[in-house]
Structures are given as structure tokens and as C-alpha cells.
Symmetry: C2
Subunit: 353 residues, 2 copies
DNA sequence: TTGTACGCGTTATCAC
DNA sequence: GTGATAACGCGTACAA
């Protein structure tokens, strides 16, 4: 086997073999312009024979676009995001767009390099889950005229198209549900990240408390150490919440309700409660967020706030596609899909007393 | 705001602005060749001022490589693959390589289009989880000289570099553990996909049976309907296993052991057992595969076969990188990492009788 | 140290 | 219907 650095065949190769010009070959392969059926077939046959594959870089260079989308996520092992990715991947593939994916791991520096990569490749659009550390990278992206839509989290100051979830409403619903089924006092478990989703959920809890005339002071907000900004590839997991729940639930009054920022946190609470001899939902009610694939099958089933991931992913791609296809840049919209409360065994109504 | 189709600045733009040649600018930006410090600074300043970003397509065209890797997976919502993606993304980013990702969803046609995309973009290497429907796409990829490594599943007939898990050994260990802790008879739950991982695990079970002198006939293999080949973006989930377990576990003798092909299947078994009034591990022992993030926190904790995902991902990228950096094409190796049995509450030793 | 010339593979605009 | 020719943005030889 010789080590000849053999470049793949080009349209020029085909042209020579069939005694034509590169130009003709180009049109034949692409079906545009006018070509005589005979030459067309001859060219196509030769192309197939050679195993010709068009060079995307060359095409991108002259066309100025690569038919590709940038997808920037924080952490793919978050079930929410992995499902989101699935939807987006499928939908953009259907439209013939390539997906260029990067994970930022809640790290601003990674975010910047992701933007850099998208700029270099002249992506046609970007779908972004921002870390919310700074708007700078995204301003840069938008300043370069790249259509961009935020998913799940808005930017800090800059206004940008957004499609997400009404976390505030979800937490509001969850809180009302816990209160009305007799759970009190409440404990809220959230990751210790300064992101809008966390803030929204806490706001929702407070609104519900106000509506039911409960004192916000009696609700403790517990921040769970996030492992996401370490240099680890650890997936989301319940460990920290489990440890914290052990401490918080030890001397808690019977009937306490727990609101968890995601279902992994809730699962940590489950385990801690079990080890402390507390039964769910009698001694402690638990409500999660996300309806992760495992949640319905826990014992008891986990009451959780379900987000319409599919709709969000679809909406994001659709918006980008419209913009790519020439829709005029309109003032940014913020669309927040309503989550729905999935009531299961973990918050069954308890008899008061 | 005028609709001038304004292309981004190029090195030529910079050159004109500073009164130099494109060539000089090129070297200044890239730090190669020799440039006078003065002009260098002037060029860099102008580049920054313009917000210049090199055009990756143009560079790729002349260099013949795009510094990108193709990653082909079946289903990103599988926790194993999402973690694998995390590792690979991080590691390739560290090496300055872009990741081009596609999901095949166990579908051969998607696989072909993924290969097509990689070929067009002239990716420098490919990391692949094959659907094992046909070798054709991968033969095409390899025939084009693209370094390629299979993860987790080998190809059908063609020999190709592989890094994976010794599923056979894992299932063997799990089976021995179940038998030796008094569980009998056994029921094996596997997805109804014709993939090597499933076959390997079943082989491992049989080997263990042989070693302990148990009759393979008494072990029932239950195939769980896979939702993966539908046109759905459903994540992995326990539903089908749950339904099937309801049927299979109804009249089962006390002490039955269940071996599940992944932890989601195991979770379905958990729920069915609970509803049937069977307690784990007294009435039925359960062993999973994958050690998904939730498994340690179930009640009881799920005994499961843990795969070294990190090692596998790292090994895959490293191998690709070596090949890209010019390592001579050697005969393919098959490296299978040993999984480790995580013994937890779901298979606690039961007193015989 | 800098400039000239050319090539990468493809598409587009014109002639013919 | 087909063929020159130029252009996309950048890198590499080589000459100045």
C-alpha cells in the first residue's frame, strides 16, 4: 500500500475523464442550468464510478454559507438538554442543515470559543442555551449578523429572541399543589447557579405563598452545590442534594413539602427520606421539575413539573429557519411555553393532623 | 438599517486598510514567517478593530482538512451516550477540533446521510456507534481514507478499530452474582434490537449458567419492544419493560432474579414488582447495566454493571488523534474495557428457603 | 521583511 | 447546450 497523499476526486477529475469542462460537470451534478441528457448521464455515471463527493468547504466558500447550524448547550447529560438535542438534530437534518455542537459546561470561556467556532464556520444560525455569565459572546455573534435564538434562558441585558419555559408558573403551580394538599412548611432545593431559571422558580414559589397567605420566611431555600462548573464530565446526579437533604430533613416536622429544581435533586431527597425513616408523601411531600424519564417509575411516582421539550426544540429550529430563509429581522419575541404539573404519588393529599 | 449583503472582513480588507499585502496579513495573524513587530501590531490592531474572524471554509479548502471530527451516535438520550458525548466533546475541543454530530436513531438511512456529511466536510476522523444494520456506509467512509473508530459496537463483517465494553464479562459477573446470592430462576430483559451488545450479554449469562451447572432452558430471555426505531424522539424509558415485567413477574417463584440490559429496563421491573406486591431483593433480585445517574439512589439501590465511559471516550479520541497526527495505519485492534459490578441493595443475599 | 503568483474546489456570469 | 473566465478567502512558493 503506497502512501500517496491521494486527494479525493473533484469535478475537474470527472470533467477530464468525460472530456468536458468543470462547469458542465457542476451543472450536471446539481441539476441546474441546461444539460443534454446524454452528457448528463455520462457525467453522473462517471461521478458514481469515482465515488465523487462534493467538497463542502469549497461550496461554502463560494456560497458564503455552509448550511449549518450552531447548537450551544451547557451540559448534554442533563436529560432535558439531551432530549432537546434530539429534537433539534432531527429537525435540522430534515431541512438539510448540519449541526455543529458545543458544550459550555456553564463556563464563559467555553462559550466564547463556541462563538468563535460558529463565526469561523459562518453558521447560518445559532440555537443557544446561555450560561448567563456575560452577554459579550452573544453580542458578538449577533453583531456579525448571525440569526440567533435563546432556549430556556434569556440573555442578561441584551434583548434576544427566546423560546423557553414558564418556570415561574410551573413553580407556582407546584407550590399551590403542595400547600393545598396539606404540606407545610416548605423547603426548596435549587442548584447554586445564578441563572434565570432558578430565579424564576423561586419567584413562582413566593407568588404562590402570597396567594395563600403563607409567610415566606418559613420557607427555606437550600442551594445545592453544583458540580457543573468543575472540570468534570460528571452527569447530573443526586449526590449533593442527597447529602443536603440528610441534614435538612432530619428534624423537620411531619408534613414538610419539598420543591426540587430538577428531578435528580428530588431523587436525592427520596433517598435521604428513606434513610431517615420518613415516608413519602405522608411525612414529606416531594415535587420535582423536568419529568425525567425515570420519575414516573419511582416509588412513589414523583410529582413533577413537565416541560414541553419537543415544542420548544421545534419552535427554535422553525424560527431559525424562517430567519435563514429571509424573514426580516423583527423585534425579539419571548415565547414561554406553559409547563404542566404531573401529579403522582409523592404528593398525595394527606389527612391533616 | 440598509439591507446591504455585507460580507465579513477578510485578510484583504485588513491589508488595504493598513497598506499591506494579503500575504503579510496572513502571516501576521498566524504568527508564522517573519514580520516586523511594527507592522505586526498594526495589522493585529486593525484586525481586532474590524472584528476579523478567519474563514474556516477557506482555510479548510486550501489545507484539505477542516480540523473537525465526526461523531455518530444512535441516540443521545441514552445516558451512556450523552456522557460519552461529553467526554469526547471536551477532549476534542481541547485539541482544537470541532465536533460534527449526528444521531442515527438506529436507522440505516440516517447513518448513510451522516457518512455523506462527513465525507463532504472532509472530517479528519470519525467516532462511530454503528447501528449494525449494514457495513456499507462505514466501508465507504474507510475507503475514502478517513480514520475511523467504532465505539461500543463492532461492525458486522468488516474489521475496524474498536474500543468498547466487555459486555459478555459484565453479564457473566452479574449472573454469577445473582446465582450465588440465591436467585433462581433467572429472567433476562433485553431490548429487541439485533445488536452485538445484546448478544454479548446473553452469551455472558449462558457462560455463567454453564459454570454453575444450571440449565439454560430455565432462563427466559424477554425481548422488550424498543421504541428507538420509531419516528419518535422519545428518550429511553422504562415503559415497555414495566408492562412486560407485569406479565412475567406475576406468577414467578419467590427468589427469581432479573437481569436487565440497561437500568431503565431495571427501573420498569422495580415498579412492576412494587405493584405486584413483590419486594426487592427478597422476592425478586434485580441487576441492571450502565449505572445510570439515578440507579444508586433508588430504593433499594440498584445493583448494576458499571461501564467506564470516560475511559472509552478518551481512548477513542486519543486513537483518532494519533492517526490524524500521522500514525501509520496498523491492523485494527479491539479493546474492550472491563465493566465492574456495583453491588447494591437490589441483590442482597437472601437466606435460602 | 515584504510582495507576486498560483492553487485549493466550487459556483456564477457571461459569452459562444 | 457548453466553454472560458472570474471569484470566494486563505496558504504556500518563490522572488524581490
Amino acid at each position: 500500500m503506497t502512501l500517496e497523499e491521494t486527494r479525493p476526486p473533484t469535478i475537474k477529475t470527472i470533467a477530464q475523464n468525460v472530456g468536458m469542462t468543470a462547469n458542465t460537470v457542476s451543472r450536471a451534478l446539481r441539476g441546474s442550468g441546461s444539460i443534454s441528457p446524454t452528457t448528463r448521464d455520462k457525467i453522473l455515471a462517471e461521478a458514481r464510478r469515482l465515488g465523487y463527493v462534493p467538497n463542502a468547504a469549497a461550496r461554502a466558500l463560494v456560497l458564503g454559507s455552509a448550511n449549518s447550524l450552531g447548537l450551544v448547550m451547557t451540559n448534554p447529560s442533563n436529560p432535558f438538554y439531551s432530549e432537546l438535542f434530539s429534537v433539534i438534530e432531527r429537525r435540522s437534518r430534515k431541512d438539510g442543515y448540519l449541526l455543529q455542537l458545543s458544550a459550555t459546561e456553564e463556563n464563559l470561556q467555553n462559550e466564547e470559543s463556541a462563538v468563535d467556532a460558529m463565526l469561523r464556520w459562518r453558521v447560518d444560525g445559532a440555537i443557544v442555551v446561555a450560561t448567563q455569565g456575560s452577554d459579550a459572546p452573544w453580542q458578538r455573534l449577533m453583531a456579525n449578523g448571525v440569526p440567533m435564538i435563546c432556549v430556556n434562558r434569556p440573555l442578561l441585558e441584551v434583548d434576544c429572541e427566546l423560546v423557553g419555559i414558564d418556570y415561574e408558573q410551573g413553580a407556582y403551580d407546584a407550590t399551590l399543589h403542595l400547600l393545598d394538599s396539606g404540606h407545610w412548611p416548605l423547603v426548596v432545593f435549587e442548584e447554586d447557579l445564578e441563572i434565570s431559571t432558578v430565579h424564576s422558580r423561586i419567584a413562582g414559589v413566593h407568588r404562590a405563598l402570597g396567594v395563600r397567605g403563607r409567610a415566606a420566611e418559613e420557607v427555606s431555600i437550600v442551594r445545592i452545590e453544583s458540580l457543573r462548573d468543575n472540570d468534570s464530565t460528571l452527569p447530573w446526579q443526586p449526590q449533593s442534594a442527597y447529602e443536603e437533604a440528610h441534614r435538612r430533613l432530619a428534624g423537620t416536622p411531619r408534613g414538610t413539602g419539598v420543591i426540587a429544581g430538577n428531578d435528580f435533586l428530588a431523587l436525592g431527597v427520596y433517598r435521604a427520606a428513606y434513610e431517615l425513616g420518613l415516608s413519602i408523601p405522608e411525612d414529606v411531600g416531594v415535587c420535582g421539575q423536568g419529568d425525567h424519564p425515570f420519575s414516573a417509575f419511582l416509588t412513589p411516582g414523583l410529582t413533577t413539573v413537565r416541560s414541553p421539550v419537543q415544542d420548544i426544540g421545534a419552535a427554535a429550529v422553525d424560527w431559525i429557519m424562517e430567519r435563514i430563509r429571509g424573514a426580516p429581522p423583527a423585534p425579539p419575541t419571548h415565547r414561554r411555553f406553559a409547563p404542566t404539573l404531573q401529579v403522582r404519588g409523592s404528593t398525595m393529599a394527606r389527612s391533616t393532623g
